[in-house]
């Protein structure tokens, strides 16, 4: 019986939100192929798979070992490939996060299998079919994945988690972890605990229109009020105002938040490519002809230095009220 294996992601022993997304994608695919969803959760001794059954997992395999408390590429790849070989899976799904983007090709290479990266849809339609944005979202491939087993990485925020109760029977496993070729020796926390633009449900991005790097404080305040992340255009990253981790666009991150603010961003093609799948886009720009207004759901033409603080004030009123 061909089922689907979903590799979940935890940080500090707690499941990341993307894990529910990849589980939902796996459940849908498993229902299509008429199989079960098996989950692989790799973490330290105290890692907990609690609640995984609520999102459609039939079985949960847990590798709990302090050697793999944090992501160790070689050990995780070995564990996932060994576990995949032990089951009869049509597909192995991971989230296309920093971890998943590194792990998925490793698993595929070890299984000698096909890889479809960073997909926004997975379905069963006479076979496994995925939708994969290419050219940073300027076009979408619909691809039939004929290689079996295959590895698929699913873009964060592309799948809405759906609770589906299943047994979620937990079993402790110890697949061969193999040797460490390149080992993570430290994880540095950032100076300020920031939400990642690719994972945030609200992103407030700024561009050249902010005039000076210090003015990003204004966007940080709005992002904080909304529980979101700060993003940046390529121009301001190239100018050294903001770190590359915040860059949104074709040579930065492709984002799919519920709400995206483009503040003082004119809307170059490569930037628009990165925000196309955002659900709602708000643009604030003094130039009424800026291309950003062609893709924004709501636009305000005006001085961002007046408009943004007012938006922040209104949002705070709502949040407090």
């Amino acid at each position: 019986m061909a089922g689907v294996m979903a590799v979940l992601e935890q940080r500090g022993g707690t499941l990341k939100r993307v894990s529910h997304e990849v589980l939902t994608a796996a459940r849908g695919l498993a229902d299509g192929v008429g199989g079960e969803v098996h989950v692989l959760l790799i973490g330290g001794a105290g890692v907990s798979a609690e609640g995984v059954g609520e999102y459609g997992a039939d079985k949960v395999f847990v590798v709990a070992d302090d050697k793999v408390a944090d992501y160790q590429a070689d050990l995780y790849a070995s564990a996932a490939a060994e576990q995949a070989k032990a089951g009869d899976y049509a597909a192995v799904l991971v989230s296309a996060t920093a971890m998943g983007k590194d792990l998925a090709p490793r698993i595929a290479a070890r299984l000698g299998s096909t890889l479809a990266s960073d997909v926004t849809q997975v379905k069963h339609d006479g076979g496994i079919v995925v939708v994969r944005p290419v050219y940073a979202g300027k076009a979408n491939y619909t691809l039939k994945v004929t290689g079996s087993p295959c590895v698929i990485s699913v873009r964060p925020n592309a799948v809405t988690p759906v609770a589906v109760a299943r047994a979620g029977h937990v079993e402790s496993v110890s697949p061969a972890l193999g040797e460490v070729r390149a080992g993570t020796v430290e994880i540095k926390a950032p100076e300020r605990a920031a939400l990642d633009v690719a994972e945030a449900t609200v992103v407030v991005s700024g561009g050249r229109g902010l005039k000076e790097p210090e003015h990003f404080a204004m966007l940080e305040e709005l992002a904080e009020a909304l529980g979101g992340a700060v993003g940046a255009s390529r121009a301001v990253v190239d100018a050294g105002w903001r770190p590359h981790a915040e860059q949104v666009g074709q040579t930065g991150k492709v984002v799919s938040p519920n709400l995206y603010f483009a503040i003082g961003i004119s809307g170059a093609i490569q930037h628009l490519a990165g925000i196309r799948t955002a659900k709602t886009i708000v643009a604030v720009n003094k130039d009424p002809d800026a291309p950003i207004f062609k893709v924004a759901d709501y636009g305000i033409v005006g001085d961002l230095f007046e408009v943004v603080p007012k938006i922040t004030e209104e949002v705070k009123k709502i949040r407090e009220g």
Binding site: D102, R110, L143, K144, T146, G147, L259, Q270, K310
Partner: protein, 250 residues
Amino acid sequence: MKIAVCVKRVPDSEARIKIGGDGKAIDDAGIKLVLNPYDEYAVEEALKLKEAAGSGEAVVVSVGTDAAQETIRTALAMGCDKGVLLKTDAKELDPLPVARVLAAELKDGAYDLILFGKLAIDDYSHAVGVMVAELLELPCVSAIAELEIADGKGKAEREIEGGVEVVEFSLPAVLTAEKGLNEPRYPALRGIMMAKKKPLEVKDISLDAGGIEVEGLAYPPERQAGKIVGEGVDAVPALIEALRNEAKVL
């Protein structure tokens, strides 16, 4: 230090993509094709490491059509020493067959480092470099933003959500470059002239059939034309109202 840099020819990031008549691939006629931007960081890093070591060789390797020679020449103009084109007209969307031909080419090259860009901005796979490392059973760090190499050992940093992983490894190793690793140099006129005379070997190869069939390539759904809520600070209440009650995102 002997370094291989694997590069890909891709449409420029500012290019408008046109889907071809068959609805399954882009029509790249009239599109500016360039050295993949992430590969520029890999090229720059190879040159910096070679210069720091005081000796060595930087070899550019690409899988692609005959036109990819121009892309290899760009890397040669930046300062790499020689090029190898693994020539095929096949466009393969499954990364493993591509990784296999690269691994076969690189396997006996006695390279200390094999560098890639973290992804190619056309197909966004983020896979071939990591797969080559797996096939060659070499240490690999993907999407690196910092690198130190000394005494046959390396230390790299890669950005993860809300943090940075510090990874240690021994050479030989495979690394894929993130933006921010360095500032790629522009080819100088002298470099461009010299690049014409540098050796570029063309080898015909064939790719294994991958496990991906294209059903279609389509433009993303057009976003519904939005509306200008208003001008200046007076428009903010209407915006907030729309976000709350129409878009329901607040």
